[in-house]
Assembly symmetry: C2
Homo-oligomer: 263 residues x 2
């Protein structure tokens, strides 16, 4: 098969690399998905793909049913480029054959009944957010609410850490305080330092909102007032050996215990 190698223009290169910044991602309502694994997961989702830039050796993954059904005329969106060109548009140290430009998903109104929802309060570290999205998907959580200071989910490090789980979860940014204020009849769980109920003994429910706080400062003061089910993960260290767990590890331990109790 003869592949037409189109040239990528300088204007395109500039437009693509500008998407490494949140401001430009939001202005254009788009983001970048990089690498074979992420592209494959993307193609199995219903995210709208605008462009694919790929090396000749890359071919559409053979998950064709979903691709043909959701991504119409996807072939026409592929531009084959050289390794040098890929290096110029990639943000990875080692570019991985393919880079896609994708449309962001609009915030969706969600129904919170009969399910567990995560609420993230100032998660700053991209790796933590990505890992939380990945483990939330593992534990069957479908919706994540982020306060406005939580790191952008279309940041490249976040995307890579999700291992593709980003495409299977509904995530949106909002004023978390106002959101919780309008959901005070729900169980609002959060880990607290004092007087939290031990998660191993406390009867946990199969619906409710679980607040995960900032990596260094925990749950912020105003959000803390909204917690009506304070919980805690028991610590087995000697005094003063350790103060806290990593935010994503704590989130994994908590979700695991919720699922264990309510299967």
């Amino acid at each position: 098969m003869y592949l037409l190698l189109k040239m990528i223009t300088n204007a395109q290169i500039k437009a693509i690399t500008s998407l490494q910044e949140k401001k430009h991602r939001n202005q254009t309502n788009s983001f970048v998905v990089e690498g074979r694994k992420m592209a494959e997961e993307l193609l199995r989702s219903d995210y709208e793909i605008i462009n694919i830039f790929a090396l000749n050796k890359w071919t559409l993954p053979n998950t064709s049913f979903a691709i043909n059904k959701v991504h119409k005329n996807i072939d026409e969106k592929i531009t084959y480029i050289s390794e040098k060109e890929l290096e110029r548009i990639s943000s990875l140290k080692t570019p991985d054959d393919v880079l896609c430009i994708v449309k962001q998903k609009k915030t969706q109104k969600i129904n919170l009944d009969n399910q567990l929802v995560l609420a993230l309060d100032n998660i700053n570290n991209p790796g933590n957010l990505g890992t939380i999205i990945r483990l939330a998907t593992w534990f069957g959580v479908k919706n994540i609410i982020c306060n406005e200071n939580t790191v952008d989910c279309y940041n490249q490090k976040v995307l890579q850490s999700t291992m593709g789980a980003i495409f299977h979860i509904n995530l949106f940014y909002t004023n978390l305080y106002q959101f919780l204020q309008s959901h005070t009849s729900q169980n609002i769980y959060g880990t607290v330092l004092q007087n939290g109920k031990n998660i191993y003994n406390e009867a946990l429910t199969n619906e409710g909102i679980i607040v995960i706080g900032n990596e260094s400062h925990g749950i912020s003061k105003d959000i803390l007032q909204m917690i009506n089910r304070p919980i805690t993960i028991p610590c087995f260290a000697k005094e003063n050996e350790i103060e806290s767990l990593n935010a994503s590890v704590a989130c994994g331990v908590i979700l695991s215990e919720f699922k264990r109790q309510t299967i």
Copy 2:
């Protein structure tokens, strides 16, 4: 109080920055601890401190009993340096007032009876290793065995991710296969993809070795043969949405379930 500001020599700068490489750390049997928080945790441990380089504004933390008892004549080991000098020796983007040169701890023979021990098989990511050390400390694990390909625990990113927990744990590197071969009478747990027992239903013990595998490839083939208690963390995602959990999250979920069952 008048503080004598000594100069730091170029030879010292070269020697200190060379410790960013594992080879030089092992040759000199030393490593670098950076920042206020880490220095404070270090001073509460019995690690032997060789030198402290600090800005004038840094003072010994007021945990004096432990300091006087363990770290004799610690004052004499402090060299006050300028911000510019600290920048030259630091590996942090934003140097944090203090940098210590510390002696590595010799491998210690450990007694594995009556306790849970972690065995790490090719953990490559420094952040993961640090997070595992931190959560192991939280859950009361005192000993971590690493195979020889696991990332060096005195790597700066590992140290920072431990949040100081590194100073409270006994960790050593060895041939993991041979180690497990000489401990086949113990429970050797490991997460496997097929035929693992659901951790929520399986009766877990309060002693044994828990193997944590590589971030991408899981437990390696030869080590897998040594697992006599295969386990698995139930997945609640829809088919094909997600393949695995992050190694440190999986480790946290597993240790939490062990502790819950055996308190």
